[in-house]
């Protein structure tokens, strides 16, 4: 039992901290730390900057341009970036597709697709959910029928995050409609510029177009762009979801949000004194601070353990989403009526000050956390299956 970072890990943390301080533009950092909007160009810029200094994908094996970083170091890296106000790295390519390509892809596929993920030149999106296949993902219907050396893809995907900016999509399609649902699924890579693809943004309650409906009308996809064997897609998809664990609790982002909440609570005068000194509000902050620190260490406990643990990731997803939502709720309440200000979160619009910018939008937007990635109720089902097993 030793909760101190090793000298090597501490040195790594320092090194990341200095790198971010030297290379993250002040304007971008200030915008990220104070609720400003994040543009696709910001994310592309940051990924390119990271990559130029060897931080493009630290969790990848060295052979593919990574650093073989331990889960703990990945966490430390994300935390340093988040607390300094850096944009998040887009996970679709880096954390979801890349491990799949490394494990199941052909050498040709790896050489073709991995470099663009690392540099940030290729923006990947995910084609999973469909109107009739949400939590019950295996019931997906988008079909891929072989014609010569191509698949012909027809159907519709939804809840596709940021696909309007994407160059490529990794997509689950039905390649055999006559077997048990899980058995007839394949995973293919689709060029988003292919004829027959229509991207239609879904306006969300916070005013953003974060997700899209995507329609496929006889889209031709070379068979060579299938990953793994035909009808092996479900196994691969499960591998992909199991792999995305390091930041499942979202601790770095919650810590960043909590720091802003503290700034707001210090700077808001209510009944003649800072809100931070209001007895009730202070206790609620304190309770949330405990939850956040316990989450952080539960996450670290999982990351530093070598034992396979099938329930902790689900518990971390549930608690991580609940806690980040609770921070957004308390931040909104800290502002009181000022929390109603929606305005424009656009970087260029000085609609209101740093204190209120983006708070209402974040509260609304973060409802998604307990819904996506396997809703919290699905996560509870998973844990119940592992523990009660009925």
């Amino acid at each position: 039992m030793n909760l101190d970072l090793s000298a090597e890990d501490r040195a790594f943390q320092e090194q990341v901290r200095s790198f971010v301080a030297a290379h993250l533009p002040t304007e971008l950092a200030a915008r990220q730390l104070n609720g400003g909007r994040l543009e696709p160009a910001d994310m592309r810029f940051w990924q390119a900057t990271l990559n130029a200094h060897g931080y493009g994908a630290i969790h990848w094996p060295a052979a593919f341009g990574g650093q073989n970083a331990s889960p703990l170091r990945q966490h430390l890296f994300e935390q340093e970036c988040a607390l300094a106000g850096a944009p998040p790295q887009l996970s679709f390519g880096l954390r979801m597709l890349a491990p799949v390509l490394m494990r199941f892809g052909t050498p040709e596929q790896q050489q073709r697709f991995l470099p663009g993920i690392l540099t940030g030149d290729t923006w990947w999106c995910q084609g999973y959910s469909e109107p009739a296949a949400g939590s019950d993902l295996a019931s997906l219907r988008t079909s891929a029928v072989v014609e010569g050396d191509h698949y012909i893809v027809n159907g519709q995907k939804c809840w596709n995050t940021l696909g309007q900016h994407a160059d490529w999509m990794f997509c689950l399609v039905r390649t055999d409609p006559h077997v048990k649902a899980q058995r007839g699924i394949s995973i293919i890579l689709i060029d988003m510029r292919s004829p027959g693809i229509t991207v239609r943004p879904t306006r969300l309650l916070d005013g953003t177009d974060e997700v899209n409906d995507i329609y496929f009308d006889n889209v031709r996809v070379p068979l060579a762009q299938r990953i793994g064997a035909e009808n092996d897609g479900w196994t691969i998809a499960k591998f992909l979801l199991m792999h995305e664990r390091t930041n499942i609790a979202g601790v770095p982002w919650s810590k960043r949000d909590f720091e802003r909440l503290l700034r707001i609570a210090r700077g808001t005068i209510r009944h003649g004194r800072p809100l931070l000194e209001d007895t009730d509000f202070r206790r609620r902050l304190a309770r949330l601070a405990i939850d956040l620190e316990v989450l952080e260490y539960t996450n670290l406990r999982m990351l530093s353990s070598t034992a396979a643990d099938l329930t902790t990731p689900s518990l971390l997803k549930i608690r991580g989403s609940e806690i980040r939502q609770a921070i957004s709720t308390l931040t909104l309440e800290a502002l009181g009526t000022e929390g109603l200000k929606m305005g424009s979160a656009a970087a260029a619009a000085p609609a209101h000050d740093d204190r209120t910018r983006g708070v209402a939008a974040a509260y609304l937007n973060l409802r998604k956390l307990s819904i996506y990635g396997g809703s919290n109720e699905i996560q509870r089902n998973i844990v119940a299956q592992m523990t009660i097993g009925l």
Partner: protein
């Protein structure tokens, strides 16, 4: 960063669990509960033979030199087995002895504490307790009261946090339970354990029994250790509670199958498991912080009491509910766990007090 136990720590924990599995079953506990003493000297002797009380004493005093992690491991086992014997109290008392006892007490008490013939119980950390020490011509005299001191009826000695008149400086003193002017009104607690209300009416404390004077951090350390022991006992109790509850859900048949297949019940179990995981994390974090700064340890211990109280309340009530009518019977083990969990919420003051303390330490 390493959250794992050493081989020695794992062995310590497993040895005690195995012994308790053989010697401290639920039936034996029921007998002990019915006895006049309310605890078993025989079982205590067995545990002492295993080295339980010696584990946290210094090696020069005949102990094994264990620290906060070892103490927490042993207390967890005690909670899991619903022990009525004074394991948690004696471990906190002996750890205080190891750190603070004066030379004369070390000479006279160490061997007895190590072999278990003497039992040192702490009187610290309860907001309802007030003991004042006044200097007189004969020496220091103690006056005041302490409410519901767990395991005091088992004790040969008490280690008491007292405040010195007139300046209120904190002191740590040891007092034999046979001391003149000390009255023990013994009682049973909600969870069936032995305890006593203590009245100090001019109890004389010779200089040799004064361990610490005017050292607030020393008292805080002991208060925090008592919270750690309680949290570990609670974790063990809660882990066992969940194991019993899951087993019940798998076996109890209604509507043509086990009730554990109902999602409404499954999700309640998962909420309990989630809290349990968090308590587990924070217990070890707090134990580890006994090796760090006073401020971090104090802050962690305050958060630990908040967590243990909320977890104990939630999990205990849920376990009873999930057992249905059986959950409120004396016969079922779960109702005994429920009572121990409920007791934990109340000991050393309410979670609310500790949340305030945490806020003052964490939110500058």
């Amino acid at each position: 960063m390493d959250f794992s136990l050493t081989e020695e720590q794992r062995l310590l924990s497993e040895t005690l669990d195995r012994c308790l599995g053989e010697e401290a079953g639920f039936d034996r506990r029921k007998e002990t509960l019915r006895s006049a003493e309310g605890w078993s000297q025989d079982l205590w002797n067995t545990l002492s033979g295993l080295g339980v009380p010696a584990s946290v004493l210094r090696e020069v005093d005949g102990g094994l030199g264990g620290g906060a992690v070892e103490l927490a491991l042993l207390c967890r086992s005690a909670g899991s087995a619903l022990l009525l014997e004074p394991v948690t109290s004696a471990l906190v008392g002996n750890a205080a002895f190891a750190r603070y006892a004066g030379a004369a007490n070390r000479q006279s008490l160490a061997a007895g504490l190590a072999e278990g013939s003497l039992i040192l119980v702490p009187v610290v950390g309860d907001p309802a307790t007030s003991i004042r020490a006044t200097a007189t011509s004969e020496g220091l005299r103690l006056t005041g009261r302490a409410a519901v001191v767990y395991h005091a009826p088992c004790a040969s000695h008490l280690v008491c946090a007292v405040t010195q008149d007139p300046d209120g400086a904190p002191m740590l003193v040891s007092v034999p339970t046979t001391a003149e002017g000390l009255r023990l009104d013994t009682l049973r607690t909600m969870d069936g354990q032995t305890a006593a209300d203590l009245t100090f009416d001019g109890v004389l404390v010779p200089d040799s029994d004064v361990w610490v004077t005017a050292d607030p951090p020393a008292i805080e350390w002991l208060e925090d250790l008592a919270i750690l022991a309680l949290a570990a006992d609670t974790l063990g109790c809660a882990e066992r509670t969940m194991a019993l509850t899951i087993e019940y859900l798998k076996t109890r048949q209604q509507f043509g199958g086990p009730i554990g297949r109902f999602q409404a019940l499954q999700h309640r179990v998962v909420s309990c498991l989630s809290r349990l995981e968090e308590l587990r994390t924070w217990l070890w974090v707090t134990a580890a912080r006994f090796g760090g700064s006073d401020h971090d340890r104090r802050r962690s211990a305050a958060a630990l009491k908040v967590l243990l109280a909320e977890t104990a309340r939630h999990l205990g009530e849920e376990a009873v509910q999930l057992h249905g009518g059986m959950g409120v019977t004396e016969e079922m083990e779960v109702s005994h766990h429920f009572r121990r969990l409920t007791a934990a919420t109340l000991r050393y003051g309410n979670a609310s007090d500790y949340l305030t303390r945490f806020a003052d330490l964490a939110l500058a």
